[in-house]
Symmetry: C2
Subunit: 152 residues, 2 copies
DNA sequence: GTCCAGTTGTTGAAATGTGAACTGAATTGA
DNA sequence: TCAATTCAGTTCACATTTCAACAACTGGAC
């Protein structure tokens, strides 16, 4: 028998905020994806390029990359395969660990990122940064950091 | 020829916040989905049940429902079909508009929602509400409302 | 009435995502 | 040394989502 505990429902206000959050997130994602589409990218692929561009030799172990872009390993395998066939990245064996695979951004991948970045940054501004009061934006940052913080 | 405008890059701080946002959202979604799984639901289906439960006669036009849960019409068609085969909702023709279809929540659907709700609310608390400073949570609400507000 | 542009919802195929099983390699520890 | 375990990445089977095409209907304009 499961112990029944009276649920701690959300207040009307908390519920309103929670729903705004769901709506807002969906809205932001839709806009970002829409504005990346002309470049043939979605947000997931864009983030992969960003993380690769920030690395030594534009190269990262698959599992490391997977964690940074919050994709499952399986999903990353597929995503990278697609990007490979588009010529944006390449796979190379990892010399130090023969289980390992490095994803490396090609020059074409880097050029695409450089092309897409200004438009993408504008999207982020129009969808979020420029719409929100700066103090609230700071608070949003603190809130999301608290959410991401590992505590359990 | 496209006019080149110097992009307004994000400041380091803005970028940090933006990345926290992406991380936080992903984290929240993962947790909510994981904790709904034991009920055989994902967040999309759960939201459908919630919106139906808040309506007269637990019934809503497909297009109306689609908008409220932010799913494309096509996606909602598929989702509702699945839920129908699970016995959670039913489709009935709309009497006033012969193009229309109403989705109605079944008693089983309602029972499942009532079952799942306490756990789901706990998830929302653990993943977000209880983790965040109340003032920051308020600010998050304002920010997300600003994001969702239709201005263009 | 008749036209017709727009709306509603569905379909089916292709693209993408998921989770479990699997392969081969590294590591552990007796 | 070498079996057992863990790890990295892929693969497979399947579920879900997307996109374009479509059929049925509506509500004016004329």
């Amino acid at each position: 028998m499961t112990t029944q505990v009276e649920p701690r429902w959300l207040s009307a206000e908390q519920q309103r905020i929670w729903r705004s959050f769901l709506n807002g997130v969906a809205r932001i994602n839709d806009r970002l994806d829409a504005e990346l589409r002309p470049f043939g990218l979605d947000l997931g692929e864009y983030e992969i390029l960003v993380h690769l561009s920030e690395c030594e030799r534009h190269m990262l172990r698959m599992s490391d990359l997977a964690e940074r872009v919050r994709q499952s390993r399986s999903r990353l395998t597929h995503t990278i395969s697609r990007m490979e066939s588009k010529g944006l990245v390449q796979r190379v064996a990892c010399p130090s660990d023969r289980r390992g695979v490095n994803a490396i951004m090609t020059p074409a991948g880097y050029r695409l990122l450089v092309d897409a970045a200004p438009s993408h940054v504008e999207s982020v501004r129009r969808a979020l940064v420029d719409r929100v009061d700066p103090d609230d934006f700071e608070a949003l940052g603190r809130a999301m950091e608290a959410v991401s913080r590992v505590t359990d």
